[in-house]
């Protein structure tokens, strides 16, 4: 059982929802990332999604693109992201880490080398935004062989066949992007999301995390009522932007703490 699967099993037995925050590694500087990761854990994160910055983040909105641009300007690279994960692992052996990014930096490093180095650094899951299942069967198999969970996306527009493919190639959890659009978009149709989750969970046979459009404790709580995990990204990046590097860990910890509290206040056994 992978670290991610173990975490979900434990949460399930406690009847709690997983909280999965996202930050971009190296934003606003490489030195800022470790303190922010600790703040996320202290605030109550179950899994950390660590964004690998890319020059052309097509599926992201302006907030995460800005974070990517700041990180790249500060000298961040995939190699350095793996270095940060290693360092984090020396202090925290338990919190699962999922790298989230785009295919090209991984292909530039070489897929075999990436998988080996990610496993050695202590990475638990990898989500490559522009690797849909039909283009990444071999990559997913290689990750699994290294005990890393390949995480895939599903969208409101995904077909049943698509869900079954993702269920076959992926493991760990499914990241359901709750609206068609880019990261950081505002509107979220709660009823529509709620209606889709049971069918998705059924088709993929693993926990379903919901992201895109989650802004605060209240919207996170509403998602927590229907999903197994709540993913929150752009809102945290905005908090880091507003706080500045020095104050960011304290402010992010408070934001995550509020969301954790809201999720834990859900009546036990929802969904």
């Amino acid at each position: 059982m992978s670290k991610i699967q173990a975490r979900f099993a434990r949460l399930q037995s406690e009847r709690r929802k997983a909280l999965i925050p996202f930050i971009t590694a190296g934003d606003p500087s490489p030195a800022a990332t470790l303190p922010l990761m600790r703040a996320l854990v202290d605030g109550g994160a179950d899994i950390i999604e660590l964004g690998v910055p890319f020059s052309d983040p097509m599926a992201d909105g302006p907030t995460i693109q800005r974070a990517s641009e700041r990180a790249l300007a500060a000298g961040m690279s995939l190699r350095r992201v793996l270095g940060i994960v290693s360092e984090f692992r020396q202090q925290d052996a338990d919190t699962p880490i999922v790298l989230m990014g785009y295919a090209n930096p991984i292909e530039a490093m070489g897929i075999e080398r990436f998988v080996d180095d990610a496993a050695a650094a202590g990475v638990d899951g990898v989500l490559v935004v522009d690797y849909p299942p039909q283009e990444s069967e071999a990559f997913a198999a290689r990750l699994k062989a290294a005990a890393i969970d390949p995480i895939f996306l599903l969208a409101p527009t995904s077909t049943e066949q698509r869900m079954r493919d993702v269920g076959r190639f992926g493991s760990g959890y499914i990241y359901y992007v709750s609206l068609t659009g880019v990261t950081g978009a505002g509107h979220l149709d709660h009823g529509q999301v709620a209606a889709r989750i049971p069918a998705i969970r059924e088709a993929v046979g693993m926990p379903v995390g919901v992201g895109f459009g989650i802004r605060d404790a209240a919207s996170a709580k509403r998602i927590g009522e229907i999903a197994d995990a709540v993913v929150i990204g752009s809102r945290i990046i905005e908090e880091i932007e507003r706080a500045g590097e020095a104050d960011a860990p304290v402010r992010v910890r408070a934001l995550i703490g509020d969301i954790r509290e809201a999720l834990d206040s859900l009546p036990q056994g929802t969904a």
């Binding site: 090209n104 991984i106 849909p132 599903l154 969208a155 995904s158 698509r162 068609t180």
Partner: protein, 403 residues
């Protein structure tokens, strides 16, 4: 007469050209691409669609475009005979409109009232705005804010045609960023929006579809060149940014083994300076904008900024079929610098009375390099993909002239 070999059938059903091409996009776009693929496959074999497309090309674009023997220029160069495929005479002044008509017709069939496009120099934006006006569709064009500044006349042209031009402030504020932004618009408005990609790149089926719509160029040449010369050309030369005019003229010639296909990339200040846009000559394979192809990138896999005097060639990737033609050896790819392109630009103006686009001037420059090394009876066919009216400002600036 050489025998045509009809065994080339790429891409495969997943959109792959050997290891290149494919569908590398986020899950949110997958169903839209599948819908597009099915709609396109139906239109591809629908005689009514093809007949309407031909009618539009003839009556609205003005096809067939002529092939012209640049006799004076050829004599001056002293060697092979250079023939020009006059895509510059098309309505809107370039080959781009062929593809825009095809995709707009498809959008109408699919019931999508809104079209979006990305543009660099503005030619594809103008062609899209033109066709949108022609069919009564809402049109939004994304353009890097740096390009908006450099190409003010084309921005105004698009507005005259009723399009909304959205300046893109992210990244390097040029073509690749406009493409990112157009993809974001598409993913957000998938139900009513058709994304008209201007080149043979992007996720499947775009590289195949744009190629098919542009193949009219090469098909006409296969008829026209023998009418003028009694045989097919020895060389076919075209400039390559994303590569749509080159695929359009190359593809019908792929089965003719004696016809050498040469793509010309923008070598900018020179391939060794790092300031260029020659992805096939100086890049390496990777994944960007929905397909696997040659890319200009740094060692960490980040896409790097490109340079060319010609905005239409200023792109860090290239269509995946060109990547395949390069690896397979069926086509070869060379670089031409800004200065060489400018020289060819001026020569064609003065010797033939034709003002070529700076993009096409790259292809002309390589023809000028090649012709003197060949005997008089050899035939070089150059795709003159567009006219240079849009480039007056750039060329004047280079010559130290202000309007």
């Amino acid at each position: 007469m050489q025998m045509a070999d009809a065994s080339y059938t790429l891409p495969d059903e997943k959109g792959h050209f050997g290891p290149y091409g494919g569908i590398f996009v986020a899950e949110t776009l997958i169903p839209a691409l599948e819908e597009l693929r099915l709609a396109y496959e139906a239109c591809r074999v629908d005689p009514a669609f093809q007949a309407e497309f031909e009618y539009e090309l003839k009556h609205y674009v003005g096809r067939p475009s002529p092939v012209y023997h640049a006799a004076r220029w050829s004599r001056e160069l002293g060697g092979a005979q250079i023939y020009l495929k006059r895509e510059d005479l098309n309505h809107t002044g370039a080959h781009k409109v062929n593809n825009c008509i095809g995709q707009a017709m498809l959008a109408r069939r699919m019931g999508k009232p809104r079209v979006i496009a990305e543009t660099g120099a503005g030619q594809h934006g103008v062609a899209t705005a033109t066709v949108a006006a022609r069919y009564g569709m809402e049109c939004v064009v994304y353009m890097g804010s740096e390009d908006v500044r450099r190409q003010a006349a084309n921005v105004y042209r698009m507005k005259l045609l009723g399009a909304e031009v959205v300046p893109v402030e992210s990244g390097s504020k040029t073509l690749k960023d406009a493409l990112n932004e157009a993809m974001r618009d598409w993913v957000t408005h998938i139900a009513d929006t058709f994304y008209i990609i201007g080149t043979v790149a992007g996720p499947h089926p775009y590289p195949q579809m744009v190629r098919d719509f542009q193949c009219v160029i090469g098909r006409e040449c296969i008829e026209q060149v023998p009418e003028l010369t009694g045989r097919q050309p020895d060389y076919v030369i075209a400039c390559v940014g994303g590569g749509s005019n080159a695929m359009g003229i190359f593809h019908p010639y792929i089965p003719y083994p004696d016809v050498r296909l040469i793509g010309v990339e923008a070598a900018g200040d020179g391939l060794d300076t790092g300031r260029h846009a020659a992805s096939l000559s100086a890049g390496k394979p990777g994944v960007l904008h929905g397909n696997r192809t040659y890319l200009l990138q740094n060692e960490d896999g980040q896409i790097i900024e490109t340079h060319s005097i010609s905005a239409g060639l200023d792109y860090p990737g290239v269509g995946p079929e060109h990547a395949w033609l390069k690896d397979s050896g069926r086509a070869e790819y060379v670089g031409v610098t800004d200065d060489e392109a400018l020289q060819a630009f001026h020569d064609l103006c003065r010797l033939e009375g034709i003002i070529p686009a700076l993009e096409s001037s790259h292809a002309l420059a390589h023809a000028a390099r090649l012709a003197p090394t060949l005997p008089n009876d050899r035939i070089i066919l150059v795709n003159l993909s567009g006219r240079g009216d849009k480039d007056m400002h750039t060329v004047a600036e280079k010559s130290g002239i202000q309007f």
